[in-house]
Symmetry: C2
């Protein structure tokens, strides 16, 4: 049974079920998602060589996952700094920012070019997730152009920002990350990705797995992530 | 610099700071606490030998940690069942129960004797935590007597329930667990405990560690727990 890659619609349906019949809060699942992102990064990019991590956070949930990941990366011995230009006014996001500030993680609202090319060893792309649709607005259009030009490795959270959730990197408009951390289950666009691919989100009830025929691989030990780079998969 | 064991007052002060200036929600920290409990248990009690885990949950936050731990233990391949006699009406706790029910984890409100002696391989004591004071009321007084008589190993969350938070197992009234998972930092009573001792709560900002001179040991890799069984420590 091959791992299933999800349409945007199915991904949204699973997400809604986790919050409704599953009884989860955004706080909880974002905490586990961000922790799994940080853990996956630590599996691939050792903190002795990739210490300085720029975490680029978008305006929605994907950005929230990034804020949580930055905090855990700090506790894992990295030196994260955050770029968060469009900060949510929601209470949860304000608290996530406070949590990072209490660790003295720098948070910038503008992205200076040198920081992309010289001051960081790794970039976390937490700009847009599986619910993204439509046009990429300022300043994120310029940010994606900058990420396209950098030589620093990029780890994308859930989908590579700028990619179509289902069709992938249309007309090569987006950048190609070195690593992808799919959350809950990979989205269709991930089938066009050939780098290091991890799955996070070890919280899906068996009933949901069966209902959507996710065929998730087993997670090793007590890990919150599993390497799915070489796993066979099918498209929906 | 030896690990510091905390008075009840200091433990409460640190807890309050995490929620106020630290910006954390109960949802978040309970998720991380429960995850660390499950992870610590998996380090000591392999799920091939200790599959059936009875998680005894008290009426407050310690019980909430237990509910989260039960869920993660399920995902780690254990077969948890929950004893939760005095269920909180708070929204968070009701959701934690829904999350366990969606995994088909049985939740009982009465503790049958056979389940303690024959149907389980391990017991998680999540009855009372560091804020406990006063008398142990029914049905928890009988529960603690039952735990005192069982031969099944017991893993206690934060403090062994029934122990004085600072003075330990006064007049030998309580039971002696095989394992203790201290959260944030050990409390004074833990200095009277000589079994397997883990620390969880990898989220304390450096400023808080300095302010209270916690001298926490480094956590290995991306683990949420660290074995402190053989660590030198000092009392406050």
């Amino acid at each position: 049974m091959a791992l299933k890659f999800l349409t945007q619609k199915i991904a949204q349906a699973i997400d809604e079920e986790l919050f409704s019949s599953g009884g989860f809060s955004v706080d909880q699942l974002m905490e586990l998602a961000g922790l799994s992102v940080a853990q996956a990064i630590a599996r691939v990019y050792d903190n002795s060589k990739y210490s300085r991590v720029l975490v680029c956070c978008g305006p929605g949930n994907n950005g929230g996952d990034g804020l949580v990941a930055a905090r855990h990366l700090f506790h894992f011995g990295y030196k994260p700094n955050i770029f968060y230009p469009k900060q949510s006014k929601k209470e949860l996001y304000e608290r996530l920012v406070i949590q990072c500030k209490s660790l003295e993680i720098p948070i910038a609202t503008e992205l200076s070019d040198p920081s992309l090319t010289t001051d960081n060893d790794l970039i976390v792309d937490a700009l847009f997730g599986f619910s993204f649709a439509g046009e990429i607005r300022s300043p994120f259009d310029q940010v994606i152009q900058k990420l396209k030009r950098t030589n620093i490795p990029i780890a994308s959270v859930d989908i590579p920002s700028g990619w179509d959730v289902e069709k992938g990197n249309i007309d090569n408009q987006g950048f190609t990350p070195s690593m992808l951390i799919s959350l809950t289950a990979p989205k269709l666009c991930a089938s066009y990705f050939s780098g290091k691919h991890f799955l996070g989100g070890r919280f899906i009830p068996p009933e949901l797995k069966r209902k959507y025929e996710l065929n998730l691989p087993p997670y090793p030990g007590t890990d919150q992530v599993v390497d799915i780079s070489n796993l066979p998969h099918e498209k929906l």
